[in-house]
Symmetry: C2
Subunit: 462 residues, 2 copies
C-alpha cells in the first residue's frame, strides 16, 4: 500500500478502528466474480460494529476519499470493485442476525449475513425466505439487496426487493436513516427503501435489513421434462397456469448446454438420455399429496405438447442432484471453455424462443453463444464461450457479441439485466435502455443522496 497520500486519513481511521478491522489482502479485494476486472483499493476496512461506519464516512468525506461497499464479492458486473481506489468497506464481519420474530414473520439482519443462513435460520421456526440466487451459499444479503437479486423462485415468490420491509444505515452526510420496519404496508412519503434496493451501493450505506418471511411450504415435487422446442415448453407453462397450477420454479437448460455437460469427465447421470430442452418445474405445497397432485396434473396437461420425456424427481437427494446440476451450469461452462463471459438479459417470456434463436445465431466457428435460465421470468443467463479463438480475436468478438446481445434484449422488449445489475461492465449500454431525461433524473437522485460523489463512483453511470 502506498501510505503516503493516505497517512493522515489512515491515522484517523486507526484511532476509530482496531487493527483487526483492516485487511491488507489487496489481491482479494481487488476482484469479485466479474471477468477480467481488477481494481485495487487503497485501504480495506472490515468493521465489526456498524456504528463505526458513521465515523468512517466522516473521515472519508473529510479527506475526499471514495468508499466502495462490498458484500461477499460474488457480483458479476463489478459493482463492488473500487474503480476509483479509496476505501473498500467490506461487510463480511457485520453478519449478525439481530432478530428473528415469529409473530411478525420477520428477520432483521446485518448486510454480511450469508443468504443461505437466512433461509436456514428462518426454517428453524418454520418460516421461509424465498429468494434463491444461485450463489446463495456464498453471497450475502447486503449484496442481494444492492443488486435486487433474483433466482429460480421469482416466478412464484418474486425477488429480494419484494421481501425488504425495512432498511437502516447512513447517508453520506453521516446521518443515519431508517426506512420502514416490521410492516408490510407503508405508503408514507416517497419509497426511498425501494429506491435503495437495486441501487448497487451508490446511494447510501445500508447497515441493517428487515426482511419479510412467509410460512414455509412443507413439501416440494420436482418435475423434469424434456421438450423438443422452447416454444412447447412455454405453451406448457401457459397451459398449466391457466389451470391454476403455480410452479415455484420453472427453469430451462438449452440443449447445447446439455450436450456440453455430457462431454465432461463425470457427467451428471440424470442427463444421459436428454436430447431436447431440459425444463424444471418445481411445485411446493403443504403436503406430499398436494405437491404430487400438482405434478401429476401438470404431466397430464402437457401431454398435448408431446414432451420427449418427463420424470417425477421424488427424493430430496435426487432433487438436490438435479438442482446442483442446474446451479453448476455456469461453472461447468467455465471449465469447458478457454474463457467465458456471461450476461443476464431478460425478455418477456413469450419472446424467449425468438431470443434464444437469435442468441444461437451469434455463435461463430470459434465462439459459442448459448443460454439457460429462468423460463418462468424470461431471464436468460447468456454465456459466451471462447472455444478456440486467440486472445485478440476473443476480445474483439466479446465486445461485438455483447453489443448485439444487449440490442437484442431491448429489441425483444426486455432489459439489459434481470439480476446482476449494471455495475461497471454494462454502464455504457445504459443509454440504450433509458432516455436522456431518465438518466438525468437518476443522476440527480444520486446527487441528492451523495452530493460529493464519494460513494461507489463510476457504477451504473459516470
Amino acid at each position: 500500500m502506498n501510505e503516503q497520500p493516505y497517512s493522515p486519513l489512515l491515522n484517523e481511521l486507526r484511532e476509530a478502528f482496531s487493527p483487526d478491522e483492516f485487511s491488507f489482502d489487496f489481491e482479494k479485494y481487488s476482484k469479485d466474480e466479474t471477468q477480467e476486472e481488477t481494481h485495487k483499493p487503497s485501504l480495506i476496512v472490515i468493521p465489526k460494529d456498524s456504528k463505526k461506519i458513521k465515523t468512517l464516512i466522516r473521515i472519508a468525506t473529510k479527506y475526499n476519499v471514495v468508499i466502495t461497499p462490498r458484500g461477499a464479492g460474488t457480483g458479476t458486473t463489478g459493482g463492488a470493485l473500487p474503480t476509483h481506489g479509496g476505501i473498500c468497506l467490506s461487510f463480511e464481519n457485520l453478519s449478525k442476525i439481530i432478530d428473528l420474530d415469529p409473530m411478525n414473520r420477520t428477520i432483521v439482519v446485518e448486510p454480511g449475513v450469508i443468504t443461505k443462513t437466512i433461509q436456514t435460520e428462518s426454517e428453524k421456526i418454520n418460516l421461509f425466505y424465498p429468494p434463491d440466487p444461485a450463489s446463495l451459499a456464498i453471497c450475502s444479503i447486503g449484496g442481494n439487496v444492492a443488486e435486487n437479486a433474483g433466482g429460480p423462485r421469482a416466478i412464484k415468490y418474486g425477488v429480494t426487493g419484494d421481501y425488504v420491509l425495512g432498511l437502516k444505515g447512513y447517508y453520506m452526510n453521516g446521518e443515519s436513516f431508517s426506512y420502514g420496519g416490521k410492516v408490510v404496508k407503508d405508503v408514507s412519503g416517497y419509497d426511498l427503501k425501494k429506491l435503495l434496493v437495486g441501487s448497487e451501493g451508490t446511494l447510501a450505506i445500508i447497515t441493517e435489513i428487515t426482511l419479510r418471511l412467509i410460512p414455509k411450504p412443507i413439501e416440494n415435487q420436482l418435475l423434469v421434462i424434456e421438450f423438443k422446442t422452447l416454444k412447447t415448453a412455454l405453451k406448457s407453462l401457459a397451459l398449466i397456469s391457466k389451470h391454476g397450477l403455480r410452479p415455484c420454479s420453472a427453469e430451462f437448460i438449452d440443449k447445447q448446454c446439455i450436450a456440453i455437460a455430457k462431454t465432461l469427465k463425470t457427467p451428471f447421470i440424470g442427463i444421459k438420455n436428454i436430447t431436447g430442452y431440459l425444463i424444471y418445474f418445481d411445485f411446493d405445497g403443504d403436503s406430499k399429496k398436494n405437491v404430487s397432485t400438482q405434478a401429476i396434473q401438470c404431466i397430464d396437461l402437457i401431454q398435448q405438447y408431446n414432451p420427449l420425456s418427463s420424470q417425477l424427481i421424488n427424493t430430496p437427494l435426487e432433487q438436490e442432484n438435479w438442482w446442483s446440476f442446474r446451479r453448476s451450469m455456469s461453472t461447468l461452462l467455465k471449465t469447458y471453455a478457454k474463457s467465458k463471459v456471461s450476461h443476464d438479459i431478460v425478455v418477456p417470456i413469450s419472446n424467449l424462443p425468438s431470443t434464444m434463436d437469435a442468441i444461437q445465431n451469434l455463435s461463430t466457428k470459434k465462439i459459442t453463444v448459448l443460454g439457460y435460465g429462468h423460463l418462468g421470468d424470461g431471464n436468460i443467463h447468456v454465456n459466451v464461450l471462447n472455444i478456440n479463438a486467440n486472445e485478440s480475436d476473443w476480445k474483439i468478438a466479446i465486445t461485438n457479441i455483447s453489443e448485439k446481445l444487449f440490442r437484442l434484449a431491448l429489441d425483444q422488449a426486455g432489459s439489459l439485466t434481470g439480476e446482476h445489475g449494471i455495475g461497471l461492465t454494462k454502464k455504457r449500454f445504459l443509454s440504450w435502455q433509458f432516455s436522456e431525461t431518465d438518466i438525468s433524473i437518476m443522476k440527480q437522485i444520486k446527487r441528492a443522496f451523495d452530493p460529493k460523489g464519494l460513494l461507489n463512483p463510476g457504477k451504473i453511470f459516470d
Copy 2:
C-alpha cells in the same frame, strides 16, 4: 369558471382537445372522499387519448399552470384535490384495456380502468390480479398505483406495487418515459418505476400500466372466528403460520364496531351472536378439498386459544355477505356517527393489541375512537366518530386525537399510513416519521422530476 387569466391557455387547450374532453362540473372535481376538503380547479380536462397529455403538459408549462391528476376520486387524503387550482386532469375516459396476455401473464391498462374490471377480465382467462382495496368496484388502477393501494389480500399477495411491471407516461418536460415492461426481473438503473408507485401523482403523469397476473386460485374457504382478545387472534395467526398455513386474508373487526353494527335498523344477521373480536381467515387453493383441509386444520390448531366461536362459511353467497359486511364497515360507521374522520395507521402486528388498547383510550364521552382492519399486516382503519360533540369541540378534538394517533403509530414502530397515502391531510406529520435529510432527499427527487413544481403541488410536503 373565471376565464379571465386562463383565456389564452384555454384557447390553446381548445385547439388540442374536443369540447367533450372538458367538464364544467366543478362541484364534482373539487372533492374526493377526503372529509371536509374542497378545492376548486380552474379547468377540468378529461382526455380521450393519452397522447394528448403531452400537449396538455406543454400548454400548462407555458402558462405556468399546475396540473392535478385525478383517478376515480376515491382517495381519502386529498391526493387528487387541486389545492392550487389549475387544471384537474381526470383519467376517467382513459379506461382501455390495451392488452391481456395469457402467455406472459400480464395485463396492460390505461390508468382509468376500474380495479374490479382488471380482476374480472383477468379471471376470464383464469388469471388473477390479487390487490383488493375495499373500494375496488369504484376506484381506478391509476389511483391505486399512485397510492400503492393495499387490501385484505396483502398478507399473502402483497400490494399494488408488487404487481406493477411497467409504467409509461410523460415527464413534466413533455418527454415520454417507459419503465419496465412484461418482465418480472429488471435491475437496470435505479428503479424509477417503484419510485413512481406511491408517489401520489407528484412526479410524472402515468398513461399506461403493465401489471403482473398470477394463476387464479380456484377455490376459497372463509372461516369466521370470534376471539375474546386480539392477542389470542394474533397468537392463532402465528401458530397457523408455523404450521405452513397461509391465509390469503386475515382481517379483524373490533367488538365496538360489532356492537355499533348491531344497533342498525337491519343489522347483518351473521353477527347476531358475536360478542368478541371478529376475525376473518380466508384460505385459497386449487380445489374445494384443499381449501377445506386448510380451514379445518386451522380450526383444530386454534382450539388451544379458546375461540368463542368459529364458523366455516361455505357458499360463495354467504362468503360475499360476510365480505360485504367487512367492506361496509366504513359506511356503516359513517351512518352511525354525526361525522367521522378515518386514518389508516400501520404497526407491526405484534403491537396491534397495545395499539388497539391505546386507540380505545383516545375515546371521550362524546367522541368514540375505534378500529378494524388488517390483522395480517397491522394496518388499522382507525375511525374517529362524533357521537354528540358540537362542531367546535369536534374540530378541536379531531386535531388532538389525530396527533395522538400518529404519535402512537410511530411509537409502536409503525407508519402514518398503510394504504391511503400522505396526500394533503397528513403532510404536516411527515417530519414526525422522517428526518430532515430524508425529506430533503424526497424534495430533491420531486425537483428532479418536476423542476417547476407544476405537478400536483402541495401534496406529501410543501
